[in-house]
């Protein structure tokens, strides 16, 4: 063993001195087998083969599939499970596995294999681990999921990428995932984390044969470089275009641009337990002080993404139609005065106890727009006498600060459809104890009641009403202050046809795409 | 017929004449020596003759090589003569040899590239040349592995390979130990005897003597005296030539009878041993120096003379044996003079700063300094110069001033004049000897030059391989020449 590791260091050094001449394909050319490669460029890196970590990429590239999918409204649709049912008490779910489905290693998809994958997912840091599951078993042609209490949104959690079903051979003896052996229309051809992934059509897929035979996923971090890849025709599908590059790409004859609203909301997380933010009037004042239109127009290049509430109009069930109040500094100052905050000699607010309104806002650079937004907020809050320092950190500083109570304010972007039903995120973020990425020091028994009822799986009309009422509570109580919604900017090469965009970002839908002409 | 004839040579730099009306000739077996001190213009004449002067200098007159005026020739044509008609033995040959090429290759390439011989033949010839000069064992050595004398012989071997009839030599003794100087002169003479036309530029009378042929003595850009070596060197007509010749140690008049040294012993060493890196340098040496006594140590390079001096000063610790110094005397009253005067001074410090710092450090009043400067004939205007703006002689005298300020009891002079022109050397050494008597300090002078040692010292100690070889007592007699003569005017800043 020891000798082996010694040798392997030598081998590693030796091998790397002679850089591997890989089975490389030049980006514009087709491969030796004549099959044209569809080139996808995206900013999102991926790590190892574990779906809990990198599953989003495997799912988007059509490598792995889950038991269920979601329709554009977020409702569950069959995928590897052809049918499903739930017992009247809501505690036992049965998923019937589609017959005749094979993994990429040609082994059949059995209920036991699916159950095993789900058990792995449950043990990992995945949305499924937050579901009150007692056991996952295989029985006949079905996977049985037993819950400790009713949990109606379970199908949405099973549609999350971390709940991907992989072949038994994908797992090593230690339970780690060794390879991505899924069931999707494409299988892994070349796995080169963190930046490149090539896939080839899986001829044994259960659906109709896809038109595109090969595709590659290339990570390009720089927004400008991504845009120029699209513009110069070096990418067929370019994801997550930055707002500043969109205008330029619109003029390009090579690509068609699509802006798809996605339920990722940039928001300010506040510590409502701190003496600064415990007063609702203060939170309202801060919200009134934000120039959302200005930020949306200047930094995000679309005034329509100014967010007066958490969910955009594209999610009508969660969107509150009542008109929003715009920026109103006078009203904000009034509210602050009512809450006991008066400007001091330097313009910074002071309250009766001599406390100055100084706070620190934590943000991070994973999303490039957050820092300019924070800088804009800093200046806007300064106008009502709030001094805010911007601290640029790592995204993990936010959950950490939440847990140890040191966090005062954070600017972040939250994806509300990590599982296709926003309920899954809301219940994590705005529960009685708050949530790492949601409320802090704030809870609402009313909202708790609404969410509990939603978990029980009420009839649809009631569901809609519960959702509306939840949205209204969040809008009025402002445990977090929404700033702007998001759009997914995609550049599509003109020689692609039948490209559709999944607002939940679970799939690029490669299997539907055809070459034009 | 003369191979090389210089006539009416004049060199100007922006209207200022540097060399005026030089005429000289040389031919096979009739070498020409241009003898002069630093700044006399002798090197400029050499530059003109070889066509290597910088273009900003204006050259007029004629330099005929085999009847052709090479001053008038275009640079390309002049360059074509190199290695074919003209050869140059450079100053300090160890700097002029390719440091990255073995000796044999440097000789062989002349045969191979200039004379077009095949490779094996070239090597064979090259080995022959090396053997002629006693370098048969050095074919595989790199220049940095050779001594100065070997390097010079290698350079000569290369020049012999080219067989150019005219050989120039620029200060062939510069940087060589004294015991190698005579060898250098003899070798040049040998070249002349082999039928070459040798032109040598030097300040060393001994070379001129060894080379014979014609000697032209230069002073301030002019030839003040010219003629056959025997005539000029034995019956000098010009005052300057005489002084130059008198400055040779063997021609020095004996020193004034100093009172026999009766003072106490200021420093002594008993059974001194010292090794460097496992190699013993001193192996049991005893020595003592009394007040007012001048002791000389001589011996070949590497015999341990310098090490002995450093041991006595406490700059090194002996491996065995003891050094005793006069008790109750502060360490700084044991002084040292260095071989290379500029390096013994802080480069960016003026003399005034250096002396002021010293007077402050030891509380020596400045009015002690002024008479010292006068005694050593140093003008106060020199005080505001940095070392680079002073001549070697001036610096060595300043070095004496700063030692004397501290009322020394002992002075170690480590080859104090080997880098000085002859007249300056004489001046400095005579001063040193006088001061030893006046001040009652013991002087230990380290030198290569036996003649100099016997003239200057009360006692001379010969070291050989770290041991005493012999010791003799000089008999002082006669009168010391008066030093009222303004020698200082003959040395100039460089």
């Amino acid at each position: 063993m020891r000798r082996r590791s010694l040798g392997s260091l030598g081998a590693a050094l030796g091998a790397s001195l002679l850089p591997e001449v890989s089975r490389s394909h030049t980006p514009s050319a087709s491969r030796s087998d004549g099959e044209r490669v569809l080139r996808i460029v995206s900013p999102f890196e991926f790590a190892g083969p574990d779906p809990a970590r990198s599953g989003s990429v495997f799912s988007r590239m059509g490598i792995g599939e889950m038991l269920l999918g979601a329709d554009p409204e977020g409702r569950p649709v069959p995928m590897l499970a052809a049918h499903w049912s739930v017992s009247p008490d809501g505690l036992l779910w049965r998923f019937e596995i589609r017959s005749g489905v094979h993994f990429h290693d040609d082994s059949p998809v059995t209920p036991e294999a699916a159950a095993s994958s789900l058990r792995h997912a449950r043990a990992a840091a995945s949305p499924l681990s937050r579901v009150p599951i007692m056991s996952i078993d295989a029985e006949g042609e079905e996977v049985l999921v037993r819950l400790s209490r009713p949990f109606a949104p379970l199908p949405a959690f099973l549609a999350n990428y971390a709940s991907m079903i992989l072949a038994p051979s994908a797992y090593g003896a230690d339970g780690r995932v060794r390879a991505v052996i899924g069931t999707g229309p494409y299988r892994v051809d070349r796995f080169a984390p963190p930046l490149q992934l090539d896939v080839a059509r899986f001829e044994g897929w259960w659906g109709p044969r896809p038109a595109v035979g090969r595709a590659s996923y290339l990570v390009v971090g720089q927004g400008e470089a991504r845009a120029s890849m699209a513009e110069s025709g070096r990418a067929d599908l370019t994801m997550a275009l930055q707002p500043v590059t969109v205008a330029r790409l619109r003029r390009s004859p090579r690509v068609e641009l699509r802006m798809v609203p996605v339920p990722r909301t940039r928001l300010l997380k506040l510590n409502a337990a701190s003496p600064l933010f415990s007063d609702l009037r203060v939170r309202k004042a801060l919200s009134l002080a934000v120039d959302r239109e200005g930020i949306a127009a200047a930094l995000l290049r679309n005034p329509a993404v100014a967010a007066d509430q958490l969910f955009p109009p594209t999610m009508p069930e969660w969107h509150d139609e009542t008109a929003a109040a715009g920026r109103d500094l006078a009203r904000a100052r009034e509210l602050l005065a009512e809450a006991g905050w008066r400007p001091g000699h330097d313009g910074i607010l002071i309250n009766g106890k001599g406390l100055r309104f100084r706070t620190t806002c934590v943000t991070f650079i994973t999303w490039p727009e957050l820092l300019p937004i924070a800088t804009a907020l800093q200046a806007q809050f300064r106008e009502i006498g709030v001094e805010m320092t911007v601290s640029i950190g790592n995204s993990s500083d936010i959950p950490l600060g939440h847990r140890d109570g040191t966090l005062e304010m954070a600017l972040l972007a939250r994806n509300y459809v990590l599982v296709p039903d926003p309920f899954g995120t809301l219940v994590q973020d705005f529960g009685p104890e708050g949530g790492d990425w949601g409320a802090m020091g704030w809870s609402s028994p009313d909202l708790d009641g609404l969410l509990r009822r939603l978990a029980e799986g009420p009839p649809h009309d009631e569901q809609r009403d519960l959702r509306q009422r939840s949205a209204r509570i969040l809008r009025e109580e402002l445990p977090v202050i929404p700033i702007a919604w998001s759009e997914l900017g995609i550049a599509i090469g003109r020689d692609l046809a039948n490209v559709t965009v999944d607002p939940f970002e679970t799939s690029f839908r490669l299997h539907e795409i055809t070459w034009a002409g | 017929m003369d191979t090389l004839a210089i006539s009416g040579l004049r060199i100007e730099a922006s209207g200022m004449p540097l060399v005026r009306g030089v005429d000289a000739v040389a031919g096979p077996g009739r070498p020409l020596t241009l003898l002069g001190e630093t700044g006399s213009g002798k090197s400029l004449v050499l530059g003109a003759a070889t066509g290597t002067l910088p273009p900003r200098l204006r050259v007029t007159g004629r330099v005929l090589l085999d009847g052709t005026d090479i001053l008038a020739a275009p640079p390309r044509a002049r360059r074509g003569l190199w290695g074919r008609r003209l050869a140059m033995l450079p100053q300090e040959p160890w700097l002029s040899l390719d440091p990255t090429m073995r000796a044999l290759g440097q000789v062989a390439e002349v045969y191979r590239l200039i004379r077009g011989l095949p490779a094996t033949k070239s090597e064979e010839e090259a080995r022959g040349r090396l053997a002629e000069l006693g370098l048969e064992g050095a074919a595989g050595l790199y220049p940095f592995q050779m001594s100065g004398g070997m390097a010079q012989r290698l350079a000569l071997a290369i020049l012999r390979a080219s067989e150019a009839p005219v050989l120039f030599a620029d200060e062939p003794t510069k940087g060589l130990d004294a015991d190698r100087r005579d060898e250098a002169g003899a070798r040049l003479r040998l070249e002349a005897d082999r039928g070459r036309t040798v032109v040598c530029v030097t300040h060393d009378v001994a070379i001129a003597r060894a080379l014979r042929g014609t000697v032209a003595v230069m002073l301030d850009g002019e030839v003040v005296e010219q003629g056959p070596a025997e005539a000029v060197l034995d019956y000098p007509a010009h005052e300057y030539t005489r002084r130059l010749l008198d400055a040779e140690p063997e021609r020095w008049p004996s020193l004034p009878g100093r009172a026999a040294p009766r003072g106490e012993v200021v420093v002594s060493g008993d059974g001194l041993h010292r090794a460097f890196g496992g190699r013993p340098v001193l192996r049991g040496v005893d020595l003592s120096v009394r007040r007012g006594e001048v002791v000389a140590i001589t011996g070949p390079s590497g015999c341990g003379k310098t090490t002995l001096g450093d041991l006595l000063l406490g700059l090194l610790a002996p491996d065995a044996g003891t050094v005793r110094r006069l008790p109750g005397v502060e360490s700084w009253r044991f002084g040292k003079l260095y071989q290379d005067p500029p390096s013994a001074f802080v480069p960016h410090q003026t003399m005034r700063q250096a002396l002021e710092d010293l007077s402050k450090r030891h509380g020596v009043a400045w009015n002690v300094v002024a008479p010292l400067l006068q005694r050593l004939r140093l003008s106060t205007t020199l005080l505001d110069r940095v070392p680079a703006a002073l001549s070697g002689g001036e610096l060595q005298r300043f070095a004496l001033v700063r030692v004397l300020m501290l009322d020394p009891v002992f002075l170690l002079a480590d080859e104090p004049t080997s880098r000085l022109d002859p007249l300056t050397q004489q001046e400095v050494l005579l001063l040193l000897s006088e001061l030893a008597g006046e001040r009652g300090m013991g002087v230990l002078i380290v030198t290569h030059d036996l003649e100099l040692a016997s003239k200057l010292a009360d006692r001379t100690i010969h070291l050989e391989a770290g041991r005493f070889a012999s010791s003799d007592v000089s008999v002082s007699r006669g009168r010391h020449p008066t030093l009222a003569e303004p020698f200082g005017t003959l040395t100039r800043g460089q």
Partner: protein, 321 residues
């Protein structure tokens, strides 16, 4: 004599070995400092790096903490690492779970292949210009080269890279601005690295050539009667090469520094890119492994440069004796 020769050969090797050991120790200590002193919680950082911001919450952090045993005393973790290192095992990446050695192997290959493009490119760009300016100091070529190299050294590497992308990918559309598969992809990152290095090597070459061409041994070579060409080829080049080769060792520092920036800029999956990510993620084994490998690589190349210098310059070879 023989004994001395052995010593002179052994000494530089020993010094380099000692240096390598020290590098390893410092890397270890840095990794330890990273674990012990940096603000933030390693488990949270790792969770964020593994699962992304959306899933990287306290629950995930707790899982990570349990899985990796981050609760153990730091001294124990440090000693563990040293122990592993002694067995030449660099451990597993805390983010991907893959063996660090496996990960670095691929990355090092990418880095070295980029370096293999950049170094010759910088030589092609820098050396002729340097030689040309050195042969005619203060001439037109010298002044233009000086201006260019000062300008290039005044531009940060990332700005240079972006400028190249702007011109060659976006304006002209000739070269891809990202990717790492075909030969075209090598050009821009390679050029970005090479230009910075060439600016330096052109100056060093120039100074060296200028110094050598006025050296007494060049004058003597001409005096021997060697034609200028032969003098330069036989005596000039080798001597002028000595400082240039010695510089190569130092260039490597620049190369490695530049690699980190260039790899980040061009999304090049090399070791510099991995290092930056690992630092942000607090992936200590990868930071330690990458830094160790880069450090050892540096020591190795320096040793090779020493060897090359000794081959060219006999004085260096015998200096130890």
């Amino acid at each position: 004599m023989d004994r001395h020769n052995w010593r002179s050969l052994l000494r530089p090797i020993l010094v380099r070995l000692l240096q390598a050991l020290l590098v390893a120790l410092i890397v270890g200590a840095l990794g330890f400092a990273l674990m012990a002193a940096l603000p933030g919680d390693q488990a949270f950082r790792l969770a964020a790096a593994r699962y992304g911001p959306d899933m990287g919450d306290a629950t995930a952090a707790a899982l990570v903490r349990e899985e990796l045993g981050l609760d153990r005393p730091r001294a124990v973790q440090f000693l563990d690492w040293i122990g592993q290192l002694l067995r030449l095992d660099l451990g597993h990446s805390l983010v991907t779970g893959e063996p660090v050695l496996e990960e670095l192997r691929g990355q090092l290959g990418h880095t070295l292949s980029l370096a293999a493009v950049a170094l010759p490119l910088s030589a092609i760009l820098g050396l002729p210009l340097g030689i040309l300016s050195g042969l005619h100091p203060s001439g037109l070529a010298d002044r233009v080269t000086l201006g260019l190299s000062v300008l290039l050294r005044a531009v940060p590497a990332y700005a240079l890279g972006l400028l190249l992308v702007a011109v060659f990918s976006i304006r002209l559309g000739w070269l891809p601005p990202a990717g790492f598969e075909g030969w075209r992809e090598f050009i821009l990152p390679g050029l970005t690295l090479a230009l910075g290095l060439a600016a330096l090597s052109a100056r060093v070459t120039r100074d060296s050539v200028a110094a050598v061409s006025t050296a007494p041994y060049m004058a003597f070579a001409r005096w021997k009667g060697l034609p200028e060409r032969a003098a330069v080829l036989r005596h000039g080049l080798r001597n002028a090469a000595i400082p240039v080769v010695a510089l190569l060792g130092f260039q490597l520092i620049g190369l490695i520094e530049g690699l980190i920036i260039v790899e980040s800029l061009f999304s090049w999956p090399g070791i510099g890119h991995a290092l930056v990510h690992a630092i942000f993620a607090r992936d200590v084994p990868v930071v330690q492994g990458a830094a160790l490998l880069m450090g050892l690589l540096f020591v190795l190349v320096n040793a090779l440069v020493d060897l090359a210098c000794a081959t060219i310059d006999p004085r260096r070879a015998r200096a130890g004796a």
